[in-house]
Symmetry: C2
Subunit: 368 residues, 2 copies
């Protein structure tokens, strides 16, 4: 875990001299926001971070009032979807201290995504200095307490005005922030994919590439029409192995063992997923990382050994799944309430994130 | 083939009353353009077409001077790649008449793409009225003669300012135009994909979805470093069947038979491809539409029966392939020059497009 002091030292000796330019908003929109009733991802804080890549170099990074921007209709992102993103959260404790959760993982992942999309990697010191300064400016937007957070969206897009189907030369890296409550309300019913797929072997499924998400909207709409909030994707070859949900990795509990699919070039390496695997170990819960056949959970459901399914991701934290449909049959999960692994793990996770529990793996990253 | 008179009649009785608003450019940029030396997709004509979808309806369509536009950083297209496009060309004959080639196919295809990306379909009369009016305004940008054309880029993007991972409610449909010479210069060497893939079964490969293209940039870069301009994609499951290239379908000639892969949910149903299949029939060339194993063309190359490979697409028309690499071996195609099917079919195609030959299938669509 890199801390910011280290980063600053590193920055001095790096070829990047960040020289972050800051333009503060004249007034804050904060007073107009009703935090009790906030829709996910529609309200943004007072400031945003922006840095352009031109002529082979990242230019001066800037923080400025959150505002619209001017784009050419020919900008490559509109035509070829050359865009990647991340999703992180900031949490506040009762003393007003602000924390991120394993931000280094998100930093590494956005650069991994960028590499796969033929986009330039973003410098680490720019990322952490931008993030820290932005969160300090907008920290009043983070409400303390479990259930509240500030959703942080770093993203990068190709902006050159040229529609040849080839990587661009100009890019924009941005960070915008939106106050958030829980993402999915209540429990979730899911449909297991039998026809549509999310990603291919040798494709971009492991990257947070923009186009991966639009590709899921139509099949997810169809699932919703049948009463399912989400789709659990299966492998595109055979549709027999369980992979992940739209924005969550998935865990299955059979008897007292958790199982989750291994990551691959089709599956996103989720920060929540890897943290839960560690937390399971810390709490003496057996967790197997291995391919899982749909039939295995169908059988387990039939014989009563399937106890829980839950999704895991930054936006949703842990999202318990109430039941699933596969081959026109609906399988309901038993109600185990307070004894569930999902509620226990969720509580431990949130307590670490909100500085309410010991952080033995150094996952918290305080914003100073 | 719908003609515009019919469309106009239909429009009258449709629920859409287009009422196209036109704002002309004060001056033309045309005089500043050197048509002899024009890079693909970087220079745009004086006008563009724009129509927004808001509150469940397409709003008044507009033609206006080509110009940048304002976008929210939270616009869904930046985050989730909800964007589709088309590629068409306009040609001018020596009498100054302007023609499109099978534009109905592009119109149908962009709506097919939109449906798969959970985007609203665009009304036919808006599309054709917009296109016709735009081309009439900018017709001086189309130079007569074979080899010249105006590349037309209809596209649609999700513009609502909200980063929940779900389909948007606001969209923008646009048409921009760029004068074009031949897209690929000279012959092309290709690498046959063994590891990376373009699309999955049950995915969005058959749609002109923006994200499909960014996903190809990195593997194509790697191929270029090895001296290959393009990748020929294979099926993601086994990498043993030949599919298509980045922006072209592919034809193989073994002895005197052409072979091209069938379209599927992974392969774009190209207008050039389907026109060439017809032209082959018209010219008594046998053309088989069937799965083709990589090994089949490797064997055919070894025993001398593989005569030609060429790509087919609107941008490149027909692009002869000089050789291919597969499993670290380079296979060179024989030089058959003027006797090739590719040059014969390309000439027939261009002659139809440029009003120099009979158009027995009614593919030309005159802009009046
Ligand atoms: C496809 C996909 N899977 C899983 C996740 C969960 O990853 P993380 O726990 O890092 O948020 C996300 C999003 O965040 C995702 O987009
Ligand atoms: C993936 C892909 N395949 C094939 C083609 C060729 O299609 P068309 O002949 O309609 O231009 C295109 C582009 O135009 C394409 O993007």
């Amino acid at each position: 875990m890199t801390n910011f002091a280290e980063l600053n030292t590193k920055k001095m000796s790096s070829t990047y001299t960040s020289n972050l330019r800051i333009e503060k908003a004249a007034t804050s929109k904060l007073k107009d926001v009703n935090f009790e009733n906030i829709a996910f991802g529609k309200t943004f804080t007072d400031h945003m971070f922006m840095c352009d890549f031109v002529n082979g170099e990242w230019q001066q990074p800037q923080i400025m009032p959150y505002q619209p921007m001017t784009m050419q209709p020919s900008a490559r992102v509109f035509h070829y979807g050359q865009a990647v993103f991340e999703g992180m959260k900031a949490y506040k404790d009762d003393d007003g201290k602000v924390f991120l959760f394993r931000p280094e993982e998100n930093f590494k992942r956005i650069n991994k995504s960028s590499a796969r999309l033929a986009m330039p990697e973003f410098p680490k010191d720019y990322f952490f200095e931008g993030l820290t300064t932005l969160l300090n400016l907008d920290k009043d937007w983070i409400k303390p307490g479990v259930g509240n957070s500030l959703y942080i969206r770093p993203f990068a897009i190709a902006i050159d005005p040229a529609i040849a189907a080839a990587p661009g030369e100009s890019y924009r890296f941005m960070i915008i922030c939106a106050p958030a409550k829980a993402y999915y309300k209540g429990t979730v019913k899911v449909l297991i994919a039998e026809q549509f797929s999310r990603s291919a072997n040798g494709g971009v499924g492991y990257a947070k590439a923009a186009g991966n998400y639009a590709a899921q909207f139509y099949p997810t709409n169809l699932a919703q029409q049948k009463g399912y909030q989400q789709v659990i994707w299966t492998d595109a070859d055979t549709h027999t192995f369980l992979e992940e949900a739209g924005t969550m990795n998935v865990f299955f509990r059979i008897n007292d063992t958790l199982i989750t699919a291994p990551t691959s070039d089709r599956i996103l390496d989720g920060v929540t997923r890897k943290s839960l695997i560690q937390l399971a170990e810390d709490n003496n819960i057996k967790c197997e990382v291995r391919p899982i056949k749909v039939n295995e959970i169908v059988e387990a459901s039939k014989n009563g050994s399937l106890k829980e399914i839950f999704g895991a991701g930054t936006a949703a934290v842990i999202s318990p799944i109430e039941g699933f449909e596969y081959q026109d049959t609906y399988y309901e999960l038993p109600e185990i309430g307070a004894h569930s692994y999902s509620s226990m793990l969720k509580e431990r996770m949130l307590n670490i994130q909100h500085n309410l529990a010991e952080d033995k793996h150094h996952w918290r990253y305080e914003i100073k």
